[in-house]
Point group: none
Chain length 205, copies 4
């Protein structure tokens, strides 16, 4: 949908009213905060609105309905994660070094953004899931798949289906993150080395 650019005020400083980006972020923030506080089941449109400091109806200006709000937030987080993930990566390093970098980034990300994690985890088994949204989210991590394939070509990583590799990585990283979040593993280099070693030993040829 296009909009009208209004110039009637003949104002040189023409700031378009724009459907406030800040507001969308306030909604996202409120939703994440609520998910962490009360779980996915505790999210209601009324509560999100109150937490974000606006009226219930306002949510429906920015999102068609609850489902769309949830899916948008999911995609937003995934994009953000993918962006962070690719920043400052040096893919020319030896494979194991690259993987260690990635592994560390992932765990660090999770630690710093526990609300996001809670949301993402609960999203997957929710009735809101949208296949198209998930597909798009998956594509953001293509560079990651490339690294694995490179490792397989160099005979460093087990030559098994990518599905199996992904399942293995996702399972371990997920659970390791949970350990850190629950303070059952400390947040230091030794601890990371330990976890990476387990993961890597299973992966390598």
């Amino acid at each position: 949908m296009e909009r009208f650019v209004k110039m009637n005020k003949c104002s040189f400083i023409c700031r378009m009213r724009a459907k406030d980006k800040q507001k969308i972020e306030a909604i996202y923030k409120a939703t994440l905060s609520l998910t962490q506080q009360m779980g996915f089941g505790g999210i209601t449109m009324a509560r999100i609105a109150r937490e974000a400091g606006m009226a219930t109806g306002t949510l429906y200006i920015y999102f068609k309905n609850k489902e769309e709000l949830i899916n948008s937030l999911y995609l937003y987080l995934k994009r953000q994660k993918a962006k962070n993930f690719l920043t400052d990566m040096n893919f020319d390093n030896p494979l194991k070094v690259v993987l260690k970098q990635m592994f560390t980034k992932m765990l660090m990300g999770i630690v710093n953004e526990s609300a996001e994690l809670a949301f993402l985890e609960q999203y997957h088994r929710s009735p809101f899931i949208d296949e198209a949204v998930q597909t798009e989210a998956m594509q953001l991590f293509q560079p990651f798949f490339d690294i694995i394939e490179r490792g397989q070509k160099e005979f460093l990583i087990k030559d098994v289906k990518m599905d199996l590799i992904m399942a293995y990585l996702s399972g371990t990283i997920h659970e390791f993150s949970a350990l850190i979040q629950d303070n059952r593993m400390p947040l230091n280099e030794d601890s990371f080395d330990l976890m990476f070693t387990m993961m890597w030993d299973g992966l390598k040829t």
Copy 2:
């Protein structure tokens, strides 16, 4: 519409124990079936009752409320799983053999009981979770912890905290099960060997 004439009250020798157990199992079965069909969110007391062939009110005779029903079912499944898990295990075999046996049992169990799996997975992030219940569930798997400790004493398994070992095992087994359920990995010995090898390589010293 047919009708049953109930005579319980007219019976002088009124032992209800057996009946109760049957009813409770009917409720459990109905709940599992519904979880698989419509997800955790689709479970309502009315639906459980209908699926189990009884009135809504009857559920409240056997369970104080929905939360208790869910938690009871969780514990019931965990106990069942632990029982199956320990049956026919020969702990005198070499460690790796024992672990392979366990691994296989776990994945097989998951495949045969997909309704149970759906329930357990969704339970964990639900608002129904009860810490005491989870603790009890954990204790059922003590024999498993013993095996791991034995492996560490024999210098076969990495000498890291049990928490880390458990996180690693739980993460991989979970994801591997999902692969099988989604038919992205076949259900045969080769496939199991592949998965076990990955898992074991990460675990071993």
Copy 3:
């Protein structure tokens, strides 16, 4: 869905709980009353429930949703009308006498049941209308169509399409009823004769 007949109380006076017919009538009555008071637009489920002396949720035990409630009431009124309409009719009388009888009945019915009229009128342009329901309603008045056809065969009534006859009758009766309801025409035999004459003159050959 099966049901249980409970006899455990060994009560000789076994009154089935039955989804209270009285309640349905209370709902109908409340709906009619509200339609008259505040128009079709003023009907809300909450108000119907309050007027009928029950909780909102209770309405949904008896009717799937608002639409079904409205359509059920419509059909109920139409059936009632058709029943009244056919009672005490002597179809052996000369045609004009039969028609006068019908005409009188219709107007009398309308006068006695002004709430019903308000409802029926507003139903027709509402978003609730259900074609199947209307078709069934139409069939209830078959005996009426038969009379008209008989009149046409006897060359007493204009030989035009039934649609046209019905439009003519429905239009005049409708408006005449409104006159009486608004007290712009008295409710006596002279007045009825006048109205019937106008109607009949247009109808006859």
Copy 4:
């Protein structure tokens, strides 16, 4: 959606009358179009504004609220109808000819302006109705009443209360229009003759 560059404010000679009228007509047109498309219940201020190519708030510059908008449109249509109705009428013709002319005009008007009809019909039982507005609308048709009175004085039309005559005419014309709109009566002279004859026979002495 296109964009308008508005310069009104920059114009020193700012006469808005013409503009206003255009806007009001755009609003009326949009409202009629929506009534036809989605019924009276489908009209929302937001939709009217969008259809009319303006902002919601703008509607409130021209009309105090929704009720006033609807009532204004009603009166506007009635006035227009009355104007059309009186154009090209030759009241010197014999009474029956004049009536036939009127009857034809009315039905034709309905056929040509089905959106208007949909609106008028639904207006009558709406919560927006305003008595004063209706009274004014009625007065527009005075010339029509005069014709009827003339007919009564000439002993051509039944000597009954004007109310009864109006009810009779309004009822039949209404229903006949509906027949034509639903394509259950063709739009030709024979068809019009048939309908007029029915109506006239009821009316004449």
